[in-house]
Homo-oligomer: 294 residues x 2
């Protein structure tokens, strides 16, 4: 594939997720420019052919589509609107694709603020973790305008497998919050069932096999339940990151004045897990909290 | 296939589940004897070749393997030990395969009581509902002795697909309780996520599609979530039956002195749903309770 006709893509963030995503963009033939707050994290990308930039503004000046993949809501705000931020360098019409997991409400505000400056935004958070980022099989949940989605789609195809335009600005982040809430609650449901089975002297792996194919079956039953049975919480998706996502979900639930008791329980358990010093474990270590309380 | 070498199977119960199971046994070539408390429910089975008996004792006298498929714990107790019960007619060594969903604790007591009379028992509750019973694709979770399981397996193969010996007496019922608890909690998790998405203006079917293939994916997300989105709760698995199973789960949790808050929430919601007069709906109508509280 000739790279001559593929546009220059910008990437802000070269962490656990950003780095493999950048490598996949290079592999797909895109010309890639990178800004990383800690430049040493971008070394592999530079060796693979990416050009490094000293700040987001400089990068934005030389691209039509810029991906942000940073830690939290304030990081995206800083990268966009802060010192040497994207808006200070961007050419009119730049499309910002924020793939971080951040607040849906703030996402809407940011998209509006960018629009007043002639810039466009999609929220496109992902699930699938580091393994999915490396394999280019991320699930990508997108919010924004259909024409912007169409423009970004070829680029996103280099990064993920299931790529869905959910709705307007923030909709991708809402679905990501729901994704995290459902996973945590399913882990808790399976963990409580294991506690009941164990107290009854039932072999957990036999139970897992019996249930996996039926209506109690889930990805959690396939993957996380094995970790729980083996008491092996090598991540996977670290509890401290899931906890960060759960705080965003909690804020969203609160801002909408909703009462969701099962979600609240999961948010509380995840926080407790991290408070106990288990933030580096896979988030399915939620089973530990269930076991402590049982 | 010649039926001459296949033993006579006894079946107690010709209800929603028992009737199609009996028809599958006849189809598989077994000679079938049936006792039904309400004989009119066994008409189809008689037409298909089953012989009807006036009481469980009379049926037990002419079979080596008898399946019980009745409503609740007291029904199994009555069929086994009550007036004209199985023990009064059984030849020594009779194998009772109880496929009802009942108390794991009582199951252990019953198996012991049968053993003192030279009779054998397996608990073999099923999931998959009426559709699974008709198709012969039930998931069957078995508790009891390995040699008894081996003896029953050819018969169970005519009724189900995934057939697992979990452990000793009661283990099948424990796993069935866990199955019901996990399903209900997953329905609640998905329903709360839908409430959050709806309040955020997100299209539920798009969200379902985006999440179904990822770590939030489950059989509930595939099947029940569609019912919730369409607000169409044609059963399926009726809430009143799920509620009955949840009461058994609650008793088991209590008898083991366990604290399982997420399970308790699901038990409470299911009861609330039935109390509101929705017992005939599919149990995924739990979403209604979530919506009322949200």
């Amino acid at each position: 594939m000739s790279t001559a006709h593929l546009p220059r893509i910008g990437l802000v963030g070269a962490g656990i997720m950003g780095k493999p995503m950048g490598l996949n963009l290079l592999k797909a033939g895109y010309t890639l420019g990178v800004y990383a707050r800690r430049p040493e994290t971008a070394t592999d990308l530079a060796h693979a052919g990416a050009r490094l930039y000293p700040n987001p503004a400089a990068l934005a000046a030389e691209t039509e589509l810029i991906i942000t993949m940073v830690s939290d809501t304030p990081d995206v705000e800083a990268v966009l609107f802060g010192k040497d931020g994207i808006v200070l360098g961007a050419k009119s019409g730049l499309l910002v694709v924020d793939m971080s997991t951040i607040s849906p409400v703030t996402t809407q505000t940011m998209a509006q603020r960018l629009a007043t400056q002639g810039l466009r935004m999609l929220d496109a958070p992902v699930s699938g973790g580091e393994a999915g980022a490396i394999a280019g099989t991320l699930t990508i949940m997108v919010g924004g305008k259909a024409e912007d989605f169409a423009e970004a789609l070829p680029v996103l195809t280099a990064l993920g497998k299931t790529i869905t335009l959910i709705g307007d600005h923030g909709a991708g982040q809402v679905v990501k919050a729901c994704n995290n809430l459902i996973i945590a609650q399913t882990v808790i449901a399976v963990s409580e069932a294991f506690a009941l089975a164990q107290a009854s002297g039932v072999d957990l792996e036999k139970m897992r096999t019996a249930l996996a194919g039926g209506f109690a079956g889930s990805k959690v039953m396939e993957v996380h339940a094995k970790r729980i049975i083996e008491d092996n919480y090598a991540p996977g998706f670290k509890a401290k990151l899931h906890d960060k996502d759960m705080r965003i979900a909690a804020q969203t639930i609160q801002s909408l004045d909703l009462n969701l008791p099962s979600s609240q329980l999961a948010i509380q358990y995840m926080h407790q897990l991290v408070e106990q010093g288990n933030g580096e474990l896979d988030s399915s270590a939620l089973a530990k909290i269930v076991q402590q309380l049982a």
